[in-house]
Amino acid sequence: MNSENSFKRPALLAAVLIVMIALPLIADATGYSALTSLATRILIYGIAAASLNLVLGYGGLVSFGHAAFFGIGGYVVGILYQHYSLEEPLFGFIPGTNQMLITLPVAILISGLAAAAIGALSLRTGGVQFIMITLAFAQMLFFLFVSLKTYGGDDGLIIRRTNELPGLNMRDKQTVYYVCLFITAVFFALLWRIVNSRFGNVLVGLRQSEKRMAAIGLPAYRYRLMAFIISGMGCGLAGALMANFLRFASPDMMHWTKSGELMVMVILGGVGTLFGPLIGAAVFIVLETTLAAWTENWQLALGFILLFVVLYTHGGVQALVSRLMGKR
């Protein structure tokens, strides 16, 4: 009953997928070529928000530092590119690269390791302390990268060219969009398996009652840590894609406001639902773009919308839509 059944509406899912595949063509035909870039950002933030949602929504752990992993993913791409273009190995022995088939897995690995370290310490606490510790770690990393002058410090790292994929012209925005779309599809398919697996089952159980889970013999810590690591890896992947898309990595990617934005996306879309965060990312980015065109105080308007969503939708935009469509 409580299981994630978005995939059980294959018709809706297929329709959305077809629209997304056709989107660049629609954008070209209607002359809104910026639409493709907008959609690419939505996909990337959707991955990041859905990753956060694994711990926040499914696991009930409010992490306020997930931008750290997003930023690490971005910096992995940026740093590897810098060493590639300067032709000097990192630490004297790790060669740089501009190959996406290498940079993405490395970004996922490094952000996973960072999540393991941060999670291992933060998960010894709970509640407000957990929120504060994750925030503190993210801010530590933020200031670390601000002070790293070798990698641009405050100004960040410019990546002159998007990473290469064999056989593809990655200088084309549409190609980048399709690469992101493919990765997003694979990512959500994996996430869908995970949240409905035995692992997902204990994770959701822990959110509902830690005491009950202990009483049936579950050691909570290791499962929460694993969820935190998977979640960090997902954010790292998103960060690496974002650095490729913007051709830029900066400390702003791991600023606490970015963690807040990811959280807002999750809440807007629907906490603890599979596609909610992706919908939330779409709503957030479309709102940001349209509201910012009207007023520079767009965050005020966003605040009111968030207030409405939290108070009246009972579970974000996803829940609102399903209720309007009478599917609940």
């Binding site: 009953m1 409580n2 299981s3 398996r193 995970i194 409905n196 697996s197 035995r198 692992f199 997902g200 089952n201 204990v202 959701v204 159980g205 509902q208 009652s209 005491k211 009950r212 889970m213 202990a214 009483a215 049936i216 013999g217 579950l218 050691p219 909570a220 499962y223 694993m226």
Partner: protein, 252 residues
């Protein structure tokens, strides 16, 4: 005498100046129902929490079938065959009745670092979970969300989940509390039926239930065991009558 399934020696728990558990010695023999009675605030639930490892005692040792549990966290104790029910029910409200039991079966089967197979179409879990529902009266409610269950049904489910961990010793924290007369009778019947499968430490206020079920009774007052013995010994014990049962009150 056979080795006791539960052996508690010199257990002490202090909360600041309050001595919640005062050098408690307690044994439960295999196959027996040992009832623990005492007035409100005597420290019965605190004792159960220490046996489960949810609270850490200041002194003393707890052994399960000769194996020391002192250094083990709750999860490991459950793995060794200890299970409890909660006085104030503690269930997973967003899950169905069957989900709650299946999760206990899943945890017993081994680690849950399995990321691929859908847990709700896993027949080995669902079928085994169903077997723990038979005879509880919850079968027609197996797909009901726990949040929608009545109090009595939740108590039944507490017991079914505890049994799904296949315990050797069951710690029952007031299983009859809040139940109506018919529900209590049903619970007594269920517990009596379990007697040959599992040993029990029964904390209960309902004296009818205690006298109907218990092989031995221990009386806990202000964290101290003031008497321990057979049902008849406890009924006759003058100290117990003053401290707990109330002097001059007719029993049963």
């Amino acid at each position: 005498m056979a080795q006791p399934i539960l052996n508690v020696r010199g257990l002490v728990k202090r909360f600041g100046g309050l001595l919640a558990t005062d050098h408690v010695d307690l044994t439960v023999q295999p196959g027996e129902i040992h009832a623990l009675i005492g007035p409100n605030g005597a420290g019965k639930t605190t004792l159960i929490s220490q046996l489960m490892g949810e609270l850490k005692p200041n002194e003393g040792t707890v052994e399960l079938a000769g194996q020391s549990l002192d250094a083990l966290p709750t999860a490991r104790r459950v793995g060794l065959g200890l299970a409890r029910t909660f006085q104030i029910t503690c269930l997973l409200p967003d899950y169905t009745v069957l989900d709650n039991i299946a999760l206990a079966v899943q945890v017993r089967q081994g680690h849950s670092f399995r990321f691929w197979k859908n847990v709700r179409s896993d027949r080995s879990l669902r079928d085994e979970a169903s077997t723990f529902l038979t005879g509880t009266g919850l079968e027609p409610r197996e797909n009901e969300l726990v949040a929608n269950l009545s109090h009595g049904e939740q108590k039944q489910l507490e017991l079914a989940i505890a049994l799904a961990t296949q315990p050797r010793l069951l710690l029952l924290d007031e299983p009859m509390a809040g139940l109506g007369h018919a529900e209590s009778q049903q619970m007594i019947k269920t517990l009596r039926g379990l007697k040959n499968q599992v040993s029990m430490l029964l904390v209960e206020h309902d004296m009818d239930a205690v006298f109907a079920l218990a092989d031995r009774i221990s009386v806990l007052v202000y964290g101290r065991v003031i008497a321990s013995g057979s049902v008849d010994e406890i009924r006759q014990n003058p100290e117990v009558r003053t401290a707990y049962l109330g002097e001059g009150d007719e029993l049963c």
